[in-house]
């Protein structure tokens, strides 16, 4: 919907199913998250530290507005942060 309407939406994605996730049920969606975002023609910002989060969200907001397209910010689990 947000892609079709050109809505400058920022989506913060709480990542599951990564290498530190012990729940195997989360693995399929975790491994597919980036491909799903790319499949709908969107871009993402990957956060690797707490310090990066604010700038990533800010950049995503700016880019979403300028491109009239949703932007995704991938937030890893605490254990996966630098």
């Amino acid at each position: 919907m947000a892609v079709a309407y050109g809505i400058p939406l920022v989506v913060a994605v709480s990542l599951r199913g990564d290498e530190v996730d012990k729940n195997p049920v989360q693995k399929p969606i975790g491994e597919a998250t980036v491909q799903l975002i790319e499949a709908i023609g969107c871009e993402f910002f990957r956060v690797s530290s707490v310090e990066e989060a604010e700038s990533a969200l800010s950049c995503a907001r700016t880019k979403a507005e300028s491109e009239r397209r949703p932007q995704f910010v991938l937030l890893p689990r605490r254990e996966a942060l630098c």
């Binding site: 309407y5 050109g6 700038s55 800010s58 950049c59 907001r61 700016t62 880019k63 009239r68």
Partner: protein, 202 residues
């Protein structure tokens, strides 16, 4: 039981004066044909989204925001009623056009047809101002009732429509732009720029 087109005609003045988030399917086509307005956000393919989208707009906008929804759409995203009740913006009005069927896909019965009461659900969620509209007398009173302060929800019982209307000819980005301009003109925080001008790495 009422005819949906009659309901839209009765509400037309209110709908044109407010920001409206409209559901998909036959209802959005009827709404466009009867009460077209640049302040209406026609959701052309997002089942169950009118209430959450309207809630977001109502939280960032001081004017009246009306979520039009169908019974099938409401069932798709019934948790949104609880979320609306949780935040309860007083300028949000929810109107569920309940024909007891998934009309756009062939008239398959919904749970509403089997007895689910959206008024009871809404009250259980915390939307105390919830009522059914079953006949012409109820309908005549509906615009004034919706204009009363506070979060309100009306369930309008209608029959399955026998007339089909053309598709909405507007492109989705144009629909969004029109609504955004309407919000900006009426002083909405939600319509302001969301960028902070920072330069981002490629």
């Amino acid at each position: 039981m009422l005819i949906r087109a009659t309901v839209i005609e009765e509400l037309a003045d209110l709908l044109k004066s407010a920001t409206v988030v409209a559901p998909l399917g036959n209802t959005v086509r009827e709404l466009y044909a009867i009460a077209e307005s640049p302040s209406t956000f026609y959701l052309l393919g997002s089942m169950g989204m009118p209430v959450p989208v309207a809630l977001g707009l109502a939280m960032g906008h001081s004017g009246t925001v009306i979520a039009l929804e169908g019974d099938g759409g409401c069932l798709t995203n019934m948790g949104s009623l609880a979320t609306a009740a949780r935040y309860a913006p007083g300028n949000l009005k929810i109107v569920i056009l309940d024909n007891g069927a998934y009309e756009s896909t062939g008239g398959q019965p919904t749970h509403s047809h089997a007895g689910t009461s959206f008024v009871d659900v809404a009250r259980g969620c915390g939307i105390k101002a919830a009522r059914e509209v079953r006949d012409e007398t109820d309908l005549a009173d509906l615009p004034n009732w919706l204009a009363l302060p506070g979060l309100r929800l009306a369930v309008v019982k209608t029959v399955i429509a026998e007339t089909s209307f053309p598709r909405v000819p507007l492109a989705p980005p144009d629909i969004f732009r029109r609504v955004r301009e309407h919000l900006a003109q009426t002083g909405s925080a939600a319509a302001g720029s969301i960028g902070n001008g920072s330069v981002c790495p490629k």
